[in-house]
């Protein structure tokens, strides 16, 4: 079925077009929308695009970094300022996919896709939404909770906190086929330490619920403790609390629950995905 493609030079124009018609979708890199169009998805008939160069900018301030929603995973991997995110960006598809897959688009990927979003979750991410005639910012967790109910929003940027130290951020993806296949699950962690004890732990999974999620039970169990065998064992004991993994051709929900503590333990003990 042919679609109408409308391309705008300004993000605000694209946002207005997106919010003013019902059967529309916004296309960033295309990994989600092109697939839908190739399959003849008839739930929409119009595709909105924006060529606004600000959508792919990466801006830095002292404490935070703003990544344009249109920035691709390849751009993230080419940015020395985002070196801590290279392993998470590398977890997204193969080289060709990373040339189009955008940071903003990853927020809309259904699990087990969306590995990069788990990384953003532990970095206190906020999402800038350019919906209709006014924009607003919202925490990423809140955005993920409503993304399916409010599909006509255009994400323009994602702001993240810099990791406390270079080794405070960790990311681990588990897939059956390497290097570039769907994940069984992926885990991101931000584990700042003060006086040898974890302070302000943030842990997130992709693949363990409908959207990437934080894992408060694990975060609580690590808080104020040194990262040693005992605290890691306690964290792993509650690894699946609050999760609801699904069954798909990659893994059953049972299998995901079985391997989550294993990979959480590996991550906490310092094993991470390869940095490209």
């Amino acid at each position: 079925m042919p679609y109408t493609v409308k391309t705008f030079s300004q993000t605000s124009e694209a946002a207005n077009a997106l919010s003013s018609a019902r059967r529309t979708h916004y296309m960033a890199g295309g990994t989600l929308i092109m697939r839908a169009m190739n399959e003849g998805d008839q739930s929409f008939d119009t595709v909105i695009r924006s060529t606004d160069p600000t959508l792919s900018q990466i801006k830095q301030s002292a404490a935070r970094i703003e990544i344009g929603a249109g920035a691709t995973m390849a751009q993230v991997m080419a940015s020395s300022e985002l070196a801590f995110l290279h392993s998470a960006a590398h977890a997204v598809g193969g080289p060709a996919i990373r040339n189009i897959a955008s940071v903003g688009g990853n927020l809309f990927a259904r699990c087990p896709y969306g590995d990069f979003t788990a990384a953003l979750l532990v970095l206190d991410a906020t999402v800038s939404v350019a919906g209709g005639y006014s924009g607003h910012d919202m925490p990423l967790e809140e955005f993920l909770a409503v993304r399916n109910r409010e599909p006509h929003q255009l994400v323009s940027a994602i702001s993240i906190a810099r990791p406390a130290t270079s080794d405070a951020f960790r990311f681990l993806k588990f897939s059956r086929v390497k290097p570039a296949r769907k994940s069984v699950l992926s885990i991101a962690a931000h584990l700042p330490q003060s006086g040898g004890r974890v302070s302000g732990a943030r842990i997130a999974y992709c693949g363990m619920a409908e959207t990437p999620i934080r894992v408060p039970a694990v975060e609580r169990s690590l808080e104020g403790k040194p990262l040693d065998e005992a605290s890691i064992a306690q964290a792993c004991a509650v690894a699946c609390e609050g999760t609801s993994p699904s069954t798909d051709p990659i893994a059953s929900d049972w299998y995901r629950r079985e391997v989550a503590p294993v990979y959480l333990k590996r991550l906490l003990m310092g094993q991470t995905s390869r940095r490209a």
């Binding site: 042919p2 679609y3 109408t4 493609v5 990994t31 092109m34 080289p95 060709a96 189009i100």
Partner: protein, 163 residues
């Protein structure tokens, strides 16, 4: 639905076609230019059979909106050989028995070309990484990896011949 004109460079030649709204580059190349060297595998960006180079960068043509290629340079397997002279990658694939059913070969060759264009002396890990988005269900990948490493050694000679 009316078609829109699209102009781009296809294997070094100026090309003009008409595309439907939402049509992907794979469909436009196969249907409008007759270049069937790139294959329709999954249409989901999962197999790599439709791999092309756009302005020198590796892309999946099934995931590429055709109209976004206006004014750009698109390279496919059809333009890899220089007349009767095979590209070193093609020769290496042949000599290493790197194709069985052949359906992935076009995408593998373009992914390999993208790698060798930016890294003429790749390691084995570099090759594995470069073809990470391309699926082969026949060969077990080893002959393909070996061929790409083999071609890396021949490529400088080939480039010298073409100058």
């Amino acid at each position: 639905m009316t078609k829109s004109p699209l102009q781009f460079r296809h294997n070094g030649k100026d090309t003009a076609v008409f595309v439907e709204g939402g049509e992907n580059l794979l469909s436009a190349l196969r249907g409008e230019t007759g270049d069937t060297t790139l294959k329709y595998g999954c249409g989901q960006g999962s197999c790599g059979a439709c791999t092309v180079l756009i302005d020198g960068e590796i892309h999946l043509s099934c995931m590429t909106l055709a109209e976004t290629c206006a004014g750009k340079s698109v390279e496919t397997l059809d333009g890899l050989a220089d007349g009767p002279n095979l590209h070193p990658l093609q020769t290496a694939f042949m000599e290493n028995f790197s194709a069985q059913c052949g359906f992935c070969t076009s995408g593998m060759l373009m992914a390999a070309k993208a790698l060798l264009d930016r890294n003429p002396s790749p390691t084995r890990d570099d090759v594995i990484e470069a073809i990470g988005g391309n699926v082969c269900r026949c060969t077990g990948y080893e002959p393909i990896i070996n061929a790409i490493l083999d071609a890396a050694g021949r490529r400088s000679d080939f480039s010298a011949q073409r100058r």
